[in-house]
């Protein structure tokens, strides 16, 4: 199963993913239309900044296995697809108790301010590749199998090591 995975070392904090996400979830589906829309389109991906290491950190919904947000939802507004593991939210039966937001370790449950219901990543059901991944200019976001992802990290690490040897220094 393909996942959205983050290469933190590649993220430059440009916020492209956030904008693309909000536009994708707007009525007009284009940036110029989206900014004037009411309700204001909301993003479901967040670029945070970690002051400790002074780096941007892209926070995405991991669509966890046996997702805690799904299991605490008393009304079944959050459901998880058994095969793809994608967690989706049905705003019509959300009572806004915010229990899901409290159990999410990554803070990925947002609030639709006008409707006062939860809002979260749906992994772009209309697209083959989620829009945040498409929008990322530095390939910090990848839509890939976990194994392939690790492989790409290994390859990069090997390259760095090799450069160190060729350059005569330690990596």
């Amino acid at each position: 199963m393909k996942e959205v995975l983050v290469r933190l070392d590649r993220c430059v904090g440009c916020h492209s993913c956030e904008i693309a996400c909000a536009v994708e979830h707007s009525e007009s589906k284009n940036l110029f239309g989206a900014v004037t829309e009411k309700p204001v389109p909301r993003k479901r991906i967040y670029v945070e900044y970690s002051p400790e290491q002074m780096i941007p950190v892209t926070m995405i919904c991991h669509h966890c296995e046996d997702a805690p947000c799904v299991s605490v939802c008393p009304t079944g507004a959050l459901t998880q697809d058994e095969i793809s593991r994608v967690v989706t939210h049905n705003p019509d039966i959300c009572v806004g108790c915010w229990t899901c937001a409290m159990v999410c370790n990554y803070g990925m449950i947002g609030k639709h301010k006008e409707r006062r219901v939860a809002i979260k990543c749906d992994r772009c059901p209309d697209r083959e590749v989620p829009v945040c991944v498409v929008a990322c200019p530095t390939r910090a976001l990848a839509f890939t199998e976990v194994e392939d992802f690790s492989g790409s990290i290994r390859a990069d690490a090997a390259l760095t090591l090799a450069r160190g040897i060729v350059g005569g220094g330690t990596p």
Partner: protein
């Protein structure tokens, strides 16, 4: 000799606590014992009030003038909690809740219905589910 009396429609009464809770002189008494709720209504009511009739969600109570009647009791079987088995709600109340709260809000993503659990079990279930991730991470700390 005509007196003011309570006329209660047994068919519409759901056995909730409203009338007994609002009666200013405690003439209507309610008890839950052995899985049965008993509501004791008085034979006469001389009080100049309409509280019970006004409070009744089903408008099952009327205050009428009539011949003195003996006290009477309405009994309701209580529904047991699906988890702990403790009786906690009358079938009438359950019915009213089921109709008032939209059907789709009554079950979670796995089809379990919180409405059939007693309040204490609802808290326990919610706790267990909320604690899940932390339980896993704390298991790993022991060496």
């Amino acid at each position: 000799m005509k007196k003011r009396l309570l006329a209660v429609d047994e068919k519409t009464c759901i056995g909730c606590r409203a009338c007994s809770a609002v009666c200013p002189v405690d003439l209507i008494r309610l008890s839950d014992e052995d899985g049965v709720r008993r509501i004791d209504f008085p034979g006469i009511c001389d009080e100049d009030c309409q509280e019970c009739a006004r409070a009744c969600p089903e408008e099952a109570i009327d205050l009428v003038f009539g011949e003195v009647q003996p006290e009477f009791v309405l009994s309701f079987d209580l529904v047991p909690c699906q988890r702990c088995g403790a009786p906690f709600v009358t079938y009438g109340e359950m019915d009213r809740l089921g109709k008032t709260i939209p059907q789709e809000l009554q079950t979670d993503a796995f089809g379990a219905s919180w409405i059939t659990l007693c309040p204490r079990c609802r808290r326990s279930v919610e706790r267990e589910r909320a604690a899940k991730t932390l339980l896993v991470s704390r298991r790993g700390t022991r060496v």
